[in-house]
Structures are given as structure tokens and as C-alpha cells.
């Protein structure tokens, strides 16, 4: 334990940054810890890692991390990361987003990054609510739940994040919760190692908005719900659809090997440098 603490400590920026912005009991810190442990386990150099985020509570994660970090605009983190990855393909580019950030305002960028299968690792901390702005419903708020902008109950069906990513073309999709931190470590490690677009959905909670409005108790109560209300993919396959309906299914949802975008673009460069008949073209000639 003390060794783990020490590991995380060496990846955190020591100046001016703490205390952090998150409410005590928040799950985002667990995801940050899992990300650090995954990077440490792979043995990446800090200089070779970029962490890009959008806006919201999760968007604040990069500032604490001693990597190349970029806090961008609401929903657009994947688009910034796409440019960065193309410019510096050797960088491991990790994009951390909340559910509103990634799936509402950033939904278009999300499906297109997945479709391109560009080698980015997306981590969505899904707490089913807009936390920073005070508890408005998001694209993952469950039906009938209350939010400050759904005072009579939410009537919009939520996205299934994993299904969306798989349908759009992601190479690797996994889901776990902030209660299952060891599992998160492993999935984030696998996602970073994956050459292609990878997504880890870290199901979390927001006890200060969603939990309070829906009378779900403290952070500890909500953490316990993640434990009691989730099943592994293997266990879920033995359940009836009704039994599975409101469960969080944890596991690797897909792991495919497909052509990756920056590698394909390297082939474009090769083709462009050769003429149609295989002759070298004069580069940039007028």
C-alpha cells in the first residue's frame, strides 16, 4: 500500500496544485490512481505520455499529472488529441472525459475518433450527471432519475457507452467501476497497450449532485451500490435479460485487431512519395 502511494506520488505535480477540485469521496481520484498505476506498470516515460481532457470535473484531472497535459474545450478533447497524435505518433495520448463532455457536446468527435480507429486511449468517467455545473441530466442519466434540469424525472433514454463505441469502430472497449479499482488498473493498462482506438468506461457516481437529488446516500453508500449492482460479463451471460437490465456489466466488451489510423497514414505518405508508376516524385514541387 505504501509502495502504491509512493508510485502515485512520483507521477503527481508537486507545485501549487493541491488540494484538488474534487469533492471528498469523489470517484474521479480512483480513476486517476488507476491511470497512474497502469502507466507505471507499462513503464512509460513521463515525457512520452500526453493526457488531454475537456471540460468538467474529469477535465481537471490532467493538471495534477506530471505528463504533457492539455485541458481543452468542452467536448473537443478527442479532436485536439487527434491532431497531437498525428503530429507526434510516438506519444501515448490518453484522453480523459466525463459523460456529458464525451457523449453530449463531444458525441460527434467520440464516434469519429472511434471510427478512424486512431491510437488514442479514451477514459470516460461516467457519473451520469453534469457535476461541475450542479447536477443537470446527461446522456447517461438513467430514465426516471431526477436532475436539476429534470425535476419531474428524466425522460431521455441513456446511451450505452460501450455499445456506442463498438458500433462506431473502437478496437478495445472495457467497463468497470471505481469500486473495482484493481480491475480498472488492468483495463486501462490493456487500453493503453492497444494499438487503435480504445475506451475504458469507468462507472462512477456523484454523491453531491445526483446522489443528493435522488436521495442515494453518501459517497460510501454509492460506492457500495457499484459493488452490489454490478456483475462481470461472464456472470451477466448466465442471467436473463430482465435480471441483467439494471446491472452494470463489467469486463472487456471487445478487443479487436484492426488497421490503425496513423499507421495507415504512413502508408498514404509512402504512396504519395511514389508516383503512380512507382517513381519518386519531387516533393513540394510547384
Amino acid at each position: 500500500m505504501s509502495h502504491e502511494e509512493h508510485t502515485a506520488y512520483s507521477y503527481l505535480r508537486q507545485t501549487k496544485k493541491f488540494p484538488n477540485v474534487w469533492c471528498s469521496g469523489c470517484g474521479i481520484g480512483v480513476v486517476m490512481g488507476a491511470l497512474i498505476r497502469a502507466i507505471d506498470r507499462i513503464g512509460l516515460l513521463k515525457d512520452d505520455v500526453a493526457v488531454v481532457s475537456g471540460i468538467g470535473c474529469t477535465g481537471r484531472m490532467p493538471v495534477y499529472l506530471d505528463f504533457n497535459t492539455m485541458h481543452t474545450t468542452h467536448g473537443r478533447a478527442l479532436a485536439f488529441a487527434t491532431g497531437l497524435k498525428l503530429a507526434q505518433p510516438r506519444l501515448k495520448v490518453i484522453v480523459v472525459m466525463g459523460d456529458g463532455d464525451a457523449l453530449a457536446i463531444g458525441g460527434n468527435h467520440f464516434i469519429h475518433a472511434a471510427r478512424r480507429n486512431i491510437d488514442l486511449t479514451a477514459i470516460i468517467v461516467n457519473n451520469s450527471i453534469y457535476g461541475m455545473t450542479g447536477g443537470q441530466y446527461s446522456p447517461t442519466t438513467p430514465l426516471d432519475q431526477l436532475a436539476t434540469t429534470a425535476p419531474y424525472g428524466n425522460i431521455e433514454p441513456p446511451f450505452q457507452v460501450g455499445d456506442l463505441a463498438m458500433a462506431a469502430g473502437a478496437s478495445y472497449v472495457a467497463r468497470s467501476t471505481v469500486y473495482h479499482a484493481v480491475e480498472l488498473d488492468r483495463y486501462i493498462e490493456q487500453a493503453i497497450r492497444k494499438n487503435g482506438f480504445s475506451l475504458v468506461e469507468a462507472v462512477s457516481y456523484c454523491h453531491t449532485t445526483f446522489g443528493r437529488i435522488n436521495k442515494l446516500g453518501t459517497a460510501v453508500d454509492m460506492m457500495r451500490m457499484l459493488k452490489e449492482n454490478s456483475v462481470t460479463k461472464a456472470a451477466a451471460e448466465k442471467l436473463s435479460p430482465q435480471e441483467c437490465a439494471n446491472k452494470i456489466v463489467r469486463g472487456v466488451l471487445c478487443d479487436l485487431d484492426k488497421p490503425e489510423y496513423t499507421a495507415l497514414y504512413d502508408q498514404v505518405i509512402e504512396r504519395a512519395k511514389m508516383g503512380e508508376n512507382g517513381k519518386q516524385r519531387t516533393a513540394g514541387g510547384l
Partner: protein
């Protein structure tokens, strides 16, 4: 030197390559698409990268990301896409990431008239993004200038760490002219300042003898934070007034101190009592009108503004000391005329405005010169 029959949009693409552009992200839109098409073909030949993004918001985001990765980056669009890019023009100004945005203006508002020219984005180019920020906006009048000002746009962008907008119009973008292009190797290129201090000393937004701190690309060993939040010299968010004020003053000052360098105007008899101040395709009509007027022994001057923002107010102030009348023709309802009036006084300024998809004709300007 190569002689070519070339379109303004093509000249922008070749200018970008001559300036060292290595990354383009864009979304198709009339009348700018030729720029993307040419760079999709040419960039990979030199190991550069082209990507067609899902929209204009993402396009400029990708450009900024690539610029942070160390590549000179550009996008091109027209009015509707330019509106979508405003969010990230602000982000680039705030984070001081160099990038070039080309807006080939078409008639608006909204979808407007995609193939008709306009100069309706002059104020949007200056103030389209929220918050006070400095910006550089250049506007070519010919195909050759489209090439040259694209090079200048990249150079200013790298030199001052700022987004630069190349404000074209549909006429200059689609017009073909026979032009002589310089050897790309002879084109002066400005590279952004880099750093060699020990990484723990590096301050991405300060700690420099210049108002433009050196910029290290991600991955070069200088790990730092970039944010659209107001930040201190280390790049970390701050709410301290004593950190915000110096930052705001510096980013304004870096452009203000460069005004002599950034301001590009062409003057022809600008000490006359009647002077036409024009830019973009309208400056071509103005040049012809001035020629016709002079054939009738009418004394008239012409000032062509290639730099629109920061507004060349010293030039206009000097012109207004001798001029009794300043004619400002524009393909809008009077946007840059507001600035000319601010400097020269409203009583001296005569506006000629057309915002219906037709150019301002030389005859319209000639009538005004003759006092009709």
C-alpha cells in the same frame, strides 16, 4: 521563379507549403475547398499530415493539437465554418498556440450565398470569439498576395504565438491569375522560439526576456500544462488578479509592440484630398476607379490595407490629416468603415456598401470620387 496560372485558393495552399506548413485539418465548404484538396495531395509528399475532420470545430482543434506537437498547422473554411471555429480561435489566443485560419468569405448571414463574395466577416475575425484577445488578420487582393500573405500569416503566427486569420473573399479565392511564384527555398520562414533551459526551469508562459515566451512541443522533454483557463506563467490555472493582469497585459502588448512589423499597407498618392481606403477584392475595383479618375485629372489617392487587424490606425490618422474625404468601399454594410471613422472622424468618411453578392464596381467608386 515559376510562372503559373493559378487560383487564389491554390496560391494559399502553395504559400502554406512554402511557409513550412506540415499539418492541415479541415472540413469541406464552398468557396474554400480547393485549399484542402491541394494540401490533401501535397502534404503527404513531404511527410506532412492531412486530415478531414468531422466538422470545423474539430478541424481547428486538431490544428491546435498538431501545433502543440510541433507542426506548423492550418485550416481553411468559409463563413458558416468560421462561426464554428470561433471557440478555438479563443483557445489558441488564450493558450498562445500558433495556427493559421483561412476564411474565404461568402455572403451571409447563415448559409447565405455560398458562391457569392462578401467581406462580411471583418468584425467576426476581430471579435468573433468571446473575451478580450489580440488577433492578427490579413487580407489579400490578388493571387500573388494570397501566396505572400499566407507566408506572412504563418510567420506572424510563429513569431507572436497567436492565431492568425487570412481573410480572403470568394473573388480572390476563386479568381485565376498568371503569377510568378518564388522558389519555396527563397521564402523567408520564421520558426517559433524553442527553449534549451533545464526542464525544471521552463515556464511556458513567462520567465522570458520577450513578451513571446519560447514554446516547447509536447514530447520534447518539457512537461507542462496547457489550459483554456486563465493561467500563471507555469501554465497552471489561477484566479489571482496579480497573475491574471500581467498575463492579459503581456498578450495585448506582444501584438501592440509588433504593429510596425505586422502592419502591411500599399499607398498610392495617399496625401491627396480624396483617398480611397480598400481591402480584398474591393481594392481591385478601387484601383481601377482611381485610375479612371486620374485620367480625368482628378487627384485621388489609394490606400490598400493588407493588414486589417490590428487596425492600421497610424496610417489612417496620417492620411486623414491631408484628406478631406476618405471613401471606404466594402462588400458589407460598413464594418471596417467603423474603424476608419473612429480614427478619421465620421464627417470625412464616405461609405460605399454592397452586401447582395455583387462586387462593388469601379463605377460606383468613381461616382463617389467625383462627388456624385
Amino acid at each position: 521563379m515559376t510562372v503559373k496560372l493559378m487560383q487564389g485558393n491554390e496560391a494559399v495552399a502553395w504559400g502554406a507549403l512554402a511557409a513550412g506548413c506540415k499539418f492541415y485539418a479541415g472540413y469541406p465548404i464552398t468557396p474554400s475547398t480547393e485549399i484542402a484538396e491541394l494540401l490533401a495531395r501535397e502534404l503527404p509528399k513531404i511527410g506532412g499530415k492531412f486530415i478531414q475532420m468531422e466538422d470545423e470545430i474539430a478541424s481547428l482543434a486538431a490544428c491546435i493539437g498538431a501545433s502543440v506537437g510541433g507542426l506548423k498547422s492550418m485550416t481553411a473554411t468559409s463563413g458558416p465554418g468560421f462561426s464554428l471555429m470561433q471557440e478555438h480561435i479563443g483557445y489558441a489566443a488564450m493558450t498562445e498556440v500558433p495556427c493559421v485560419v483561412v476564411d474565404v468569405q461568402r455572403l451571409g448571414p447563415s448559409t447565405g450565398q455560398p458562391t457569392s463574395p462578401s467581406q462580411g466577416d471583418v468584425m467576426q475575425a476581430r471579435w468573433g470569439t468571446h473575451g478580450d484577445h489580440p488577433i492578427i488578420v490579413l487580407s489579400p487582393t490578388s493571387v500573388r498576395q494570397a501566396f505572400d500573405l499566407t507566408v506572412s500569416a504563418f510567420n506572424f503566427s510563429e513569431k507572436y504565438r497567436t492565431p492568425v486569420i487570412l481573410l480572403m473573399d470568394e473573388v480572390v479565392g476563386h479568381m485565376r491569375e498568371k503569377i510568378e511564384l518564388p522558389d519555396p527555398k527563397s521564402v523567408e520562414r520564421v520558426e517559433r522560439g524553442t527553449t534549451s533551459v533545464p526542464p525544471e526551469w521552463y515556464k511556458p508562459y513567462g520567465d522570458s526576456s520577450s513578451d513571446v515566451p519560447p514554446m516547447s512541443p509536447f514530447g520534447a522533454g518539457y512537461r507542462y500544462h496547457i489550459t483554456g483557463l486563465l493561467h500563471d506563467i507555469a501554465g497552471y490555472p489561477t484566479q489571482r488578479v496579480d497573475e491574471i493582469d500581467p498575463w492579459l497585459e503581456r498578450i495585448q502588448r506582444k501584438i501592440e509592440h509588433g504593429i510596425g512589423d505586422i502592419t502591411m499597407v500599399e499607398e498610392d498618392g495617399s496625401d491627396a484630398r480624396t483617398v480611397v481606403v480598400a481591402y480584398g477584392a474591393t481594392a481591385r475595383s478601387a484601383r481601377h476607379a482611381v485610375k479612371l479618375a486620374r485620367q480625368q485629372r482628378c487627384k485621388v489617392g489609394l490606400v490598400t490595407l493588407l493588414t486589417l487587424w490590428p487596425f492600421p490606425e497610424d496610417v489612417i490618422a496620417r492620411v486623414s490629416r491631408s484628406a478631406q474625404r476618405i471613401i471606404v468601399p466594402e462588400m458589407n454594410l460598413g464594418q471596417l468603415a467603423l474603424e476608419v471613422e473612429r480614427v478619421a472622424g465620421r464627417n470625412k468618411v464616405v461609405r460605399i456598401n454592397r452586401a447582395n453578392g455583387e462586387m462593388v464596381t469601379p463605377q460606383l467608386i468613381l461616382n463617389s470620387i467625383e462627388g456624385n
